[in-house]
């Protein structure tokens, strides 16, 4: 990785924290998946703060957001603390889960999409097809409080071509969302990319989750 071996050993022995030692510990933890050490410290911290957040006491979040967060809290805790599993084995789950009423979920989801200038149409039962074009004025850049994000990320929209009055952009994102019912009396919102660059889609999803207040 380009670090000086002797310097690294010296830093490690002296307990100095620098780029080299951080890299070393991260690699070490990744290789052995221990629950102590560099990542272990993080684990302890998050369990402590996590326990405080199990109690429903956030008056500011809307009902749906709170319920979704509540579920994800629970799942995170059982993975990290109560079941004694290795914290480095972070689990990934498909989509978003919620215990709210399906109609309520759809309303909140579509409202969040509308606020982000995402268009949709119904294509099936609890099934929408959505479309979004980055860089449209009055849009995402204004919503997200991040000047750096808007200045260079979406870059050059001079590639938008007008064709018979229809604006085409090579970065148009299309995705489908489908709400499912799970066996555990919960509902699962599944998002599937249909078209568009991978990272633009993921970034849109991150913004969507923020807008939905589940983060």
């Amino acid at each position: 990785m380009g670090f000086d071996r002797n310097q690294l050993i010296e830093s490690l022995c002296n307990g100095i924290q620098n780029e080299a030692t951080v890299a070393y510990y991260l690699l070490l933890d990744n290789r052995f998946r221990v629950s102590s050490g560099y990542l272990g410290a993080e684990f302890q911290e998050t369990v402590d703060s996590g326990l405080n957040h199990m109690h429903p006491s956030e008056p500011l979040s809307p009902a749906l957001g709170h319920r979704m967060t509540g579920y994800m809290d629970y799942q995170g805790l059982t993975q990290l603390g109560l079941r004694g599993q290795s914290p480095a084995e972070r689990k990934w789950a498909l989509g978003l889960q919620s215990r709210a009423h399906p109609r309520e979920i759809m309303t909140e989801v579509l409202k969040a999409l509308q606020e982000l200038n995402v268009c949709w149409k119904k294509i099936g039962h609890y099934n929408m097809k959505c479309r979004w074009i980055p860089g449209i004025p009055g849009h995402l850049e204004g919503m997200v409080n991040n000047a750096v994000h808007s200045s260079h990320y979406f870059g050059d929209e001079s590639s938008i071509i007008e064709n018979d009055g229809i604006i085409k952009s090579p970065n148009v994102i299309k995705f489908e969302l489908q709400l499912y019912k799970t066996p555990e009396e919960k509902y699962l919102l599944d998002l599937q990319r249909v078209q568009g660059p991978q990272f633009v889609f993921l970034d849109l999803c991150a913004t969507f989750l923020t807008q939905l207040r589940v983060l």
């Binding site: 789950a93 498909l94 509308q114 799970t182 990319r193 999803c205």
Partner: protein, 115 residues
Amino acid sequence: MNNNQYGQVHDEVTVMGFEVPRSPDSSYNNVYPGSEDEARDPPVAPPHLQNTLLSHPASRENSGSLPLPQNVILNHLCIENREAPRSVVALGFTHRFHSKYVTVVLYKPVPRRGS
């Protein structure tokens, strides 16, 4: 080829009778579902959707090989479980590029909400 909604891949073949229906921009009407639309429960979640490669356990030997993903999970969004309040969100999905499969993950800081 330009109308192929699923294509960024140029070797897509269209099969007679299986063409992708046209989806003009104007068809996106932003209609909120009415009460009669959602009288029934949503469909039951298919169990195989949960089989994301992202949750595949890492082997100690670091052999570097993963099983092939099932077609059904491709392009479906996965979210990493993290403790709340999270400062970073990790999102990912697996997609196909020609004959290979690529899993992409985005780590993004969560914007802090003002009181």
